[in-house]
Each structure stands twice: as structure tokens, then as C-alpha cells.
């Protein structure tokens, strides 16, 4: 088992990465302070891994809350449902929630833990690549509102993240590859050597070779942990984690959060950020090609969805960002392994990038 510590003073915690951790009863027990434990999971994950986790927590007082699967259940209503269950079972302030699932389960469980009786502890047990390398790490929790994603939430760090890499074997291959967009992101934003390593080892990762996969997840988590330790509440440097996400969110919004997975939208967003950086003269066209090739090897998309015109995308991005005093800040690249958060770019070059990625010929 590998261990990465997220250094946040008294809120520090480990990310444990390895094989068959869902059988490691001692590991789980060491991070659960009292007897009352509620596992929150969903209808897809429960049949696969709930029994295994229950067995692992044998001896504790364990309840379960099984949610329907899907982003549309990441709401205040679901928080209320979990709180009802907690109160019916008289869960106290020393009790623990365990989030067994992907990003949605982790976000909604984490936010419930943040506000139940003004805050109880929780464990993240991520079951997707995306959750293991990104959403389960760093304490950002939230639910969606009808008018915006992640608009109601809290910074609330987990007691530990337990990433059992074995569970990824049952993950849908498309979900698996979408998660790799975030892995590649870490190389691009601050770890050029990791990008090089991925160029050498992506095939092993894609094949699920044990050691290679554990290493890719560990190194991703190490990068995320470092960034979170620098800027827990995203007042500055943490924003580099959003490489590709402003474009990506606009794609997701434009498609009504259907058809494309988050990681797929982020992959195109990363490529667009690279393209714009190149148009600004900050990175070479060869760098863009390297990024494009690596994303393509992970079978990630490289063009905007056909349904989305350049004009519409720009419009969504502008609305999305108006919330922050009208300035559209982007994460761009000054090199592979070197991202910057900036609003110093030509609007025309941004438009040129968007048009270049469109499959439509409309003039924005």
C-alpha cells in the first residue's frame, strides 16, 4: 500500500492507495473514531462492493444509505434524505460517514458530513479513476442547484481517502479513460516528468497493469495533495487544478450534462487551453501535438461536440464567469508542467481556438 499525506495541520489526512484495500479491516478501523458508521453508496456500486465493505467494518454499528445513481441526485434533497436516516438512527457528533462510490457519492456525502450537526467525520472510498485522483481528495464538497453545479457546498476534509485500485477493474472502460484526462492534467499543470512518464506508460495504465496503475494514481494524488496543502480554500494557486475545466464545463452545460462524461469534456478543454497557449506564443505547436497524441491514446475526444456552435460555447463561458465580476480567467500553459491562471489573453485568439475545435462552420 502507498500512502500520500495531505498536509493541512490538524486537518491532515492520508490517501491510501493499493490493491484489495476493501479487505483491510485494520486500515478502515484506524480511521473511524467511534462505533456509529453509515455507508453512503449508490445502486450501481452497492451490488459490487457494499458487502465487501460491510464485512471489513464488522464489529462496528453500520447502517447503509443507497442512493440512485447519477449526477441528478447530487442535490439538497439527497442531503436531506441522508440526514433523515442519520437522525432516525440517532447518529451523534462522533459518528462517521463513508462515501463508497464516484464523484457524486463523494460530493454529496462529504457535504452531508460537513453540515450534519455542524460537521462530522467522513471517509472517502472512491471507486472511479476520477474520484481516486481528483474529487475524493482535497475536501471540496457540494451539491448542485437547478441554476448551477456545485453551488451549495463546503470545504470539509475527510478523515482519510482509501483508494482501492482493484475496484477499477469493474469500471466501465469509457469511465476509466475519462478519468485519465485528470491524470494527464497533473502532468501538464505542474509535473512535466509525470507527463513524460505517461507518454512511456499509458498503455500499461490502459491495460490496468497493477503497478503502473497504482503509480499513476499515487503520483496524481501527490500532485493534488501538494496543491491543496498550498491553498486549501482555493484563494489562489489551487485554481490551476481547473486546467481545461472552463471549456469543459461550458461543453457540459451546452450538452445539458448528457452524452459526454466530465473527463471527456475536460480532455477537449485541456487541448483547447493548449491550443490557445500556443496561439499566444507560450508553448510550441509540437507541445500541443504531444498533448493531443497522449489524450488520443486514451481514446479521449479532440473536437467539440457537433451540437455545440462556437458562439454558443463562448456565450456559456461568459455567463459562467460573469459571476466573478466579469473577468474570464483561464488556466493556460507556459510549458508542459507549467500552468498559469490568467486573464492576459486576446479575445480574438480565444475565439480562433474555439472555432478551430468546432465541427461546425458557423461564424461566432
Amino acid at each position: 500500500m502507498r500512502k500520500v499525506i495531505v498536509e493541512l495541520g490538524e486537518r491532515s489526512y492520508p490517501i491510501c492507495i493499493g490493491d484489495n484495500l476493501l479487505a483491510d479491516s485494520a486500515l478502515f478501523r484506524s480511521h473511524i473514531p467511534a462505533k456509529q458508521v453509515m455507508i453512503v453508496t449508490n445502486q450501481t456500486v452497492a451490488p459490487l462492493y457494499l458487502d465487501r465493505l460491510m464485512a471489513c467494518l464488522d464489529g462496528l454499528s453500520v447502517d447503509t444509505c443507497i442512493l440512485p445513481d447519477g449526477e441528478k441526485y447530487k442535490t439538497l434533497d439527497t442531503v436531506n434524505t441522508i440526514v433523515t436516516r442519520l437522525l432516525e438512527k440517532r447518529y451523534g457528533r462522533s459518528s462517521t460517514l463513508v462515501a463508497l462510490g464516484g464523484g457524486v457519492v463523494g460530493d454529496v456525502t462529504g457535504f452531508t458530513a460537513a453540515c450534519y450537526q455542524r460537521g462530522i467525520g467522513y471517509l472517502q472510498v472512491p471507486t472511479t479513476v476520477l474520484a481516486q485522483v481528483d474529487s475524493a481528495v482535497g475536501g471540496k464538497t457540494a451539491v448542485n442547484h437547478a441554476l448551477g453545479k456545485n453551488m451549495i457546498g463546503a470545504f470539509h476534509q475527510p478523515l482519510a481517502v482509501i483508494a482501492d485500485v482493484s475496484v477499477l477493474s469493474t469500471l466501465d472502460p469509457r469511465e476509466f479513460r475519462a478519468g485519465l484526462a485528470e491524470v494527464i492534467k497533473y502532468g501538464l499543470i505542474r509535473d512535466g516528468a509525470f507527463f513524460d512518464w505517461l507518454e512511456q506508460n499509458l498503455d500499461g495504465v490502459l491495460k490496468g497493469e497493477h503497478e503502473t496503475l497504482v503509480y499513476a494514481i499515487e503520483r496524481s494524488c501527490r500532485n493534488k495533495a501538494d496543491v491543496v496543502a498550498m491553498d486549501e480554500k482555493e484563494s489562489g494557486p489551487r485554481a490551476i487544478l481547473n486546467l481545461g475545466h472552463t471549456f469543459g464545463h461550458a461543453i457540459e452545460t451546452g450538452l445539458g450534462y448528457q452524452d459526454w462524461l466530465h473527463g471527456e469534456a475536460v480532455a477537449v478543454g485541456i487541448l483547447m487551453a493548449a491550443d490557445l497557449s500556443c496561439r499566444l506564443g507560450w508553448i510550441s505547436r509540437e507541445d500541443v501535438e504531444r498533448i493531443s497524441r497522449l489524450l488520443a491514446r486514451a481514446h479521449l475526444p479532440s473536437r467539440l461536440p457537433g451540437a455545440l456552435s462556437p458562439g454558443r460555447l463562448l456565450e456559456i463561458m461568459a455567463v459562467d464567469k460573469k459571476a466573478r465580476d466579469g473577468v474570464m480567467v483561464l488556466v493556460l500553459l507556459e510549458g508542459i508542467g507549467n500552468a498559469v491562471v490568467t486573464d492576459r489573453y486576446d479575445r480574438e485568439k480565444l475565439e480562433a481556438t474555439i472555432k478551430a475545435f468546432s465541427t461546425l462552420q458557423e461564424i461566432a
Copy 2:
């Protein structure tokens, strides 16, 4: 204007207490970091003070959200309503909420600020005695759940508390007096000299004499600020603030949160805690009499409501506390000005106290 600082490192903030602060535009402006401000208030307070506050914030971009009046609106649904308004108006992370009202408005606005986009700033502008001396100070925010009060919330400190004592002149006299239960509480738990002062000056407070009232509120806030600074998240010493509240909450629950005001229930609770402390030999019967006389001068009740039997009260208290591993911890007195948090009391003496305060003759 008097100022009390709540010392919490980078989360420190002032409580400003004085006359006509709702006309002090510079004071408000100094605590509002950006242009976007939403005032949250209710239908009772809005006709009285909203225009005044709006005028005071002239030059900023101000919206309002007027809630129905009442504890039953302290819910997640109301949080969702406020968030909808914020998103419709494109409020960003640097915007500010202003809670203009009593405890309900303060609690729900504070919790909304705690979770909107993972946390924005807010000002407390309390308009009741209870809110000025207690609920607006210390960052405990929450909404109720059908199965329990304040079960969903956060610790989220305000940017400042602005307590305009002039607004208390329009407060319902019964509400005014109920708030004094919390004022008297501060004398009892940690400030015996303040209790003595209240014995000398309660009539002036009741008459609303300006200087006397400002002093009572300032000294109450100073006590609360000290306790909060010691134990922001209620891991220990802060619990002394709950003197009278375990009994009080049981009374409120027993009455379905109708008929009695919170401060009235707390007043009887304080007296019951004093009586039990006397039965345990920790304070004298004369001390109990002093407490009883002071509460009576504020026209606060001294017996349990007729509708509530001793057995029922005990049952509610036990259920309330089962959430914390079965131990019923109470705040009791070892002297006037000296409270302790303890479970070292005889169950029989507790029952004797409850029976002594009942207007019924039922054997529990």
C-alpha cells in the same frame, strides 16, 4: 458606539453595539468587501427597518430577500430559496449577505453564507435582545430538520455583528423579556459581578434606559465572545453557554415549539439547573432564591408548562441526549458566576427537581 472583538485569529470580528447604527453608513461599508450585497430579512422586520438599512447601503448593489416570519421557515427549503435568488442575480464569491432580524433570520442567512459557493461573507444585524446577546455572536449557524432542531448547519463566523440597540424599542415586550434570560445566563455561568449589576440595574434595562441597556448587551457579548474565543467549535468549554438549555429544549419540544418563547423555556431551565445544583449541595438555597427573584423581575416563568408532565419531560431529555452515547450531560452551577458541564449528578435528584417544577402531581 461600543466594540467587542471576538478573537479568532484570521476569523476575528467586531461586535458593534450602540444607538442608531442603522444610520451609520461608514460602519456598514467598512465591513462589506465588494459591491454585491443581499439583505435577508422577514415580513415583520422589513416594514420597520429595511428602508433604513437600504439607505445606509446606498451606492452598493443591493438586493433583498424577505422571508415569512417564524421558526418553521428555518429550513433547507429556505436556504434553497435564498440561493436561487443569489444565482438569478449572479452573486459571486466576494458578495455579502446581511441578516437583518432575529435568531431565525440570522441562523438561516448564516448557514446560506456558509455554503453558497462553499462560503461567502455575511453581516449579522440582530434586531432582538436574544439575537444581539446570543445567536448573532459566535458563528453557529443552522437550519432545522423535521426530526430535530439545528441539525443541519455550520460554524461560519460573520464579518461583523452590528447591534443597533435602538431597534429594540419596537420589539414586543414579551420577546424583550425573554431575551433577558440569556443576559442573566451570562452572569450565572461566568460573571458573578455582572449578576450583581443586573440585580441593581434590571429595572433600568426593562425600561429601556439607553446606557443601561447598551451596557447589559455589551457585557453579555463580551462574555459570549470570550467563551467563543476559547472554544470556537464547541469541543468543550463552550458548552457552559447551554445553561438551562437542556431543560429548555425539552420544554420547547414538549410544547411543539409553540406557546412559549425560547428565552422563557430557558428561564425555567436555568432555575431548574440552579435547583438541582442546590439539591446536590453545590449552591445554597439563598442563591437559588436570588436567581429566582431576578428572573421573576423580568417577568419570566418559574414553573413548567401545565401541559407537560415530569415523566414526559424526562423522556424528551433522555431522547435528546441519547444522540451523544447515552450520557445526559447537564450544565449546573457551583456558584453564581461558576457553571460546570457535568454528568456527575444523581438521577433521583434530577427527578426531584423536575417534579418540584411541575404543576402536575403525576408520579414520573
